[in-house]
């Protein structure tokens, strides 16, 4: 990568150049002012770029070279499951019969699409151990909110209007409390104990008849399996609350333990994590939600059903929470996830989890001599290290992350979960080879040595990227959120 500013596309614009090809208008052209009301014909054209097709391609190719994806190199970003994105998924999702179908076509013209959705739901039910699944939510956070709205509807249908609180562990993803707030709940935090697991005594202390639900990811964000899960389920169910499973970490337990069997009532999945829908630089994702039978009446409308050999949407759902998204979810991502599941099969998915966990434990043990390991026990698909030792030498976790960029790696998730000081959360995934893990481990060991011997090398990193550390304070104090043409 070279240290050179890449012009904005607007800065390349030249009046009169075009990058499109539209047929000549083949119907009579009338004056727009005749067809539109007075004052509604745009006077000033939007300042979109005027560039040729090659200009565009070079621009975005240059931008892509300034971007790191899984295909560029190792990406052990904890809780994000940055595994390989299979190419067959992309091919299937682009088939005319899947990419170019309209959501409001008559049902008989889209039976293939509905069959795929239905079969995906069936597969996800089996994987999670739930009774029904909706594909409507667009992403994980959207699924969380959908699930919580269903829990709310469930309680209200029972005449239970005082369940205003949702409990989340201190190690929870930030979306959990945010989704609870959007669903109209107040958030209560439950502490983790010394062992990194939810403190059962604290849980008993915070639950009561106002508890609507406990949101939990298992394994938790420290990569540890909440082994008291059945006791926790009993505590929550004992006060009449529901247990919510944040499926962000499902990669750790496929074929080993199903949320439905652990006592969870609602589950959301991140198909863009475990099931290889690509992350796309931040989306689109897909966040299906699975529920147990007692929550089924509250599923978002419409519900896909199979009747007399035909797939159709059922809108007659009087207790439904309503729609959470126009149409039926991020179908294109669901197609990719379905293709992946069908590529792996049951044995493949089991191997996915086993190798993901093997890779994580291998890295953890090999790195343990060089960094602090806050929880010395088998991890699941990810593990956390603490940079406490390096911090004493003046090297922060942020510096370590930036130094990793020089080795061509995307750093781990840092400073999360919040309950570990100088945290690094590492998730290798199962699609990485031992050679890749070993090379990353060597880089981390070298950085640990540099922290002792030449800390400035780490503190001043990165040294090889197209740009140095950026001034985030300036960005926030004087926000420049769009390009303005110089006058």
């Amino acid at each position: 990568m070279s240290k050179k500013d890449q012009k904005l596309i607007f800065e390349m614009s030249q009046p009169g150049r075009i990058g499109y090809s539209l047929p000549e208008l083949d119907v009579p052209r009338k004056d727009a002012a005749e067809l539109l009301p007075d004052g509604y014909v745009r006077e000033e054209a939007p300042e979109l770029p005027e560039v040729s097709e090659l200009d565009i391609m070079r621009h975005y190719t240059a931008l892509s070279k300034r971007n790191h994806g899984v295909d560029s190199g190792f990406y052990p970003l904890g809780s994000c499951t940055m595994k390989y994105n299979p190419k067959i998924n992309e091919d299937i999702a682009r088939l005319d019969g899947l990419a170019h179908i309209h959501p409001l076509q008559q049902e008989e013209t889209v039976q293939g699409a509905l069959e795929l959705m239905y079969d995906l739901q069936e597969h996800l039910k089996e994987i999670t151990g739930m009774d029904e699944v909706t594909l409507q939510p667009a992403a994980g956070a959207h699924g969380e909110w959908t699930g919580l709205m269903m829990i709310r509807a469930f309680h209200e249908a029972n005449g239970d209007f005082n369940r205003t609180k949702v409990i989340v562990p201190d190690s929870a993803h930030g979306t959990n409390p945010a989704s609870a707030a959007v669903a109209g709940f107040e958030t209560v935090t439950v502490k983790s104990g010394e062992d990194g697991l939810v403190d059962l005594e604290d849980l008993k202390r915070v639950v009561d008849e106002t508890t609507a639900a406990l949101m939990l990811t298992n394994p938790n964000t420290l990569g540890l399996f909440e082994e008291n899960i059945l006791e926790m389920a009993e505590i929550i169910h004992g006060v009449g609350g529901k247990l919510y499973y944040d499926g962000a970490n499902l990669n750790a337990v496929m074929s080993k333990a199903r949320p439905g069997d652990m006592g969870f009532d609602v589950v959301h999945l991140n198909l863009h994590k475990t099931f290889t829908g690509p992350h796309g630089g931040g989306g689109p994702g897909s966040g299906p939600v699975g529920v147990k039978a007692d929550l089924m009446p509250f599923l978002p409308k419409p519900v896909l059903v199979k009747k007399d050999g035909m797939y159709q949407f059922d809108n007659e759902r009087p207790q439904s929470i309503g729609r959470v998204k126009p149409f039926y979810g991020n179908f294109g991502i669901n197609v990719r996830a379905y293709t992946y599941i069908r590529s792996m099969g049951p044995d493949g998915l089991k191997a996915v989890t086993e190798y993901a966990v093997l890779n994580a434990n291998y890295m953890m043990r090999r790195l343990a001599p060089y960094f602090d390991l806050p929880y010395n026990r088998h991890s699941k698909h990810e593990f956390v290290l603490s940079g406490r030792r390096q911090k004493k030498l003046g090297v922060r976790t942020l510096d370590i992350a930036k130094r990793l960029l020089d080795f061509g790696y995307h750093p781990p998730t840092i400073y999360f979960p919040l309950n570990v000081e100088e945290c690094m959360m590492i998730e290798p995934t199962e699609t990485e080879s031992k050679e890749t893990l070993d090379a990353f481990i060597e880089a981390m060991i070298q950085i640990a040595k540099e922290a002792e011997e030449t800390p400035e090398v780490v503190q001043e990193a990165p040294h090889t990227t197209v740009i140095g550390r950026l001034d985030e304070t300036l960005a926030a104090r004087k926000p420049v959120l769009r390009y303005e043409k110089e006058q």
């Binding site: 890449q6 904005l8 596309i9 990058g19 539209l22 009338k30 727009a32 539109l36 509604y40 054209a45 939007p46 979109l48 097709e53 975005y60 240059a62 931008l63 892509s64 300034r66 790191h68 994806g69 295909d71 299979p86 067959i88 992309e90 019969g97 170019h100 179908i101 309209h102 959501p103 076509q105 293939g112 795929l116 959207h142 709310r152 930030g174 409390p177 399996f225 080993k256 690509p278 796309g280 630089g281 931040g282 309503g322 729609r323 126009p326 069908r342 099969g345 089991k350 191997a351 093997l358 999360f416 031992k434 990227t465 197209v466 740009i467 950026l470 926030a476 926000p479 959120l481 769009r482």
Partner: protein, 448 residues
């Protein structure tokens, strides 16, 4: 287990288990209590080899009628538009599509800059000051706009026109329930929001007035009048706009909109059975710090070189948790990139030309249908959609059209009781004169 996505060999596994100090992978799962342990194998379809799976899924796809084979007159929020070939080539660059959210700006400048450009283009089209990096879709963006309005005005009632997309209104109601916001629908008259009703419903408790532009019936809403009604009572003026239409229509920003939302699907994003599309969210400068989702901002590195970062993150869930402006985390970044490429390809001239062709062709279709004796339900000016009344069920006419290679319009009677046998017809720049004439003729015949 050998699989092309799983590289560990038997000897790798053995070495790794030794390094960990366990004798089997199973030992690593010992912390899962016996009682919840899943034993056995999932009851799923067996794995299929790549060529066989490709064949099977291609056959499944072939069961669907698609708009590459058929001439589509179906819109209702999702449109068949010109998608420059270059769009798919750019978004297929895997440095983009296999990346996560750009949390490490030094190795994510490509994505960050592309989003900064997207934000700029959305501002240009809508006439607003600030746009975010995308939302899930137009419907959820509209619901978020209502929530922002309620938070900003500290009022708990929103007015939404019945001419807003019915599914977007459904989504709005679901979100509103969570937030304890009352949603009141404003009836329409002659295909546009009834201003008299609006003026009588809007009051000092109204957080927002929400309209769609052009509206669900294709009609160009009188934004100037709606603005007066909203601002007259201190409510936020929220517009859901088709961004392509803004190539020719006066942008909502010019009419004083506080929030403009919508879906960028018309810009190079395939219909794909309703998603993923690409919501956008644009506001005035005043609301900059209230915007949901991610924002990219320009800044400098230590040497003064221009660069881009995610900014104003104090609004977001990973910092503010339950006090965040929204719970959104994943957005539609890759589709925002697709829309950016399409907007760039069209450019200043193409977006106008494309919008103009939609306007002209829809108008031509309207006239052709009139000539066939078909009723145009609303006389008000429209963009690329309009409503016709048939004398038999839309479903029946559509089944006939399908035989002629045409996907007919949307059956409005499914949602609007008073519009039984009415069809919402969309005519984009993709429809040729011949297709339009065939459509008009066929509808005319089956209309008898």
């Amino acid at each position: 287990m050998k699989h092309r996505y799983l590289p560990l060999t038997e000897s790798d596994k053995k070495e790794m288990l030794d390094a960990i100090g366990v004798s089997s992978i199973e030992e690593l799962f010992e912390d899962i209590p016996e009682k919840v342990r899943f034993k056995g194998t999932y009851n799923l379809k067996e794995a299929k080899a790549e060529p066989l799976l490709k064949r099977e899924l291609s056959q499944l796809a072939a069961k669907n009628a698609n708009n590459k084979q058929y001439a589509s007159f179906l819109g209702a929020g999702v449109y068949d538009h010109y998608a420059p070939s270059i769009v798919d080539h750019v978004i297929s660059r895997s440095e983009f599509y296999t990346a996560y959210t750009p949390y490490q700006p030094e190795i994510s400048q490509g994505e960050l800059q592309a989003i900064f450009e997207f934000q700029t283009m959305i501002c240009e089209l809508t006439g607003m000051d600030v746009a975010n990096s995308s939302m899930y879709d137009g419907g959820t963006a509209l619901a978020e706009a209502a929530m922002l309005s309620a938070g900003q005005t500290k009022r708990k009632k929103v007015l939404v026109s019945e001419t807003v997309h019915p599914e977007a209104r459904d989504v709005l109601r679901t979100y509103a329930k969570g937030q304890g916001i009352e949603v009141i629908e404003v009836p329409y008259k002659n295909g546009a929001t009834d201003l008299e009703s609006l003026n009588s419903l809007v009051d000092r408790d109204t957080a927002a007035v929400i309209v769609q532009y052009p509206n669900f019936f294709g009609v160009v809403e009188p934004l100037a009048d709606v603005e007066k009604a909203a601002h007259g009572e201190g409510a936020m003026f929220v517009v859901s706009a088709n961004p392509l239409s803004l190539g020719i229509l006066t942008p909502p920003g010019k009419f004083g909109a506080d929030i403009v939302v919508g879906d960028a699907q018309p810009f190079g994003i395939p219909a794909q059975f309703g998603g993923p599309h690409c919501g956008y969210f644009a506001v005035t400068k005043k609301l900059m710090r209230k915007v949901p989702g991610r924002l990219v901002g320009q800044t400098k590195d230590e040497e003064g070189q221009r660069g881009f970062v995610l900014t104003l993150q104090a609004r977001e869930q990973h910092i503010r948790r339950d006090k965040a402006t929204s719970n959104i985390c994943s957005n539609q970044a890759l589709n925002a990139l697709a829309a950016s490429v399409a907007m760039t390809a069209l450019g200043k001239n193409g977006v106008r030309e494309s919008a103009e062709q939609n306007l002209q062709k829809a108008h031509f279709a309207k006239e052709a249908l009139k000539q066939q004796g078909v009723d145009i339900v609303f006389e008000a000016p429209t963009f690329n959609e309009f409503v016709i009344r048939l004398n038999k069920p839309v479903k029946d006419v559509n089944s006939q059209l399908l035989k002629q290679g045409i996907i007919g319009g949307y059956d409005l009677g499914l949602v609007y009781k008073e519009l039984k046998n009415c069809m919402l017809v969309a005519v984009t720049e993709m429809r040729t004169k011949e297709e339009i004439e065939l459509f008009a003729k066929e509808v005319g015949e089956h209309h008898e």
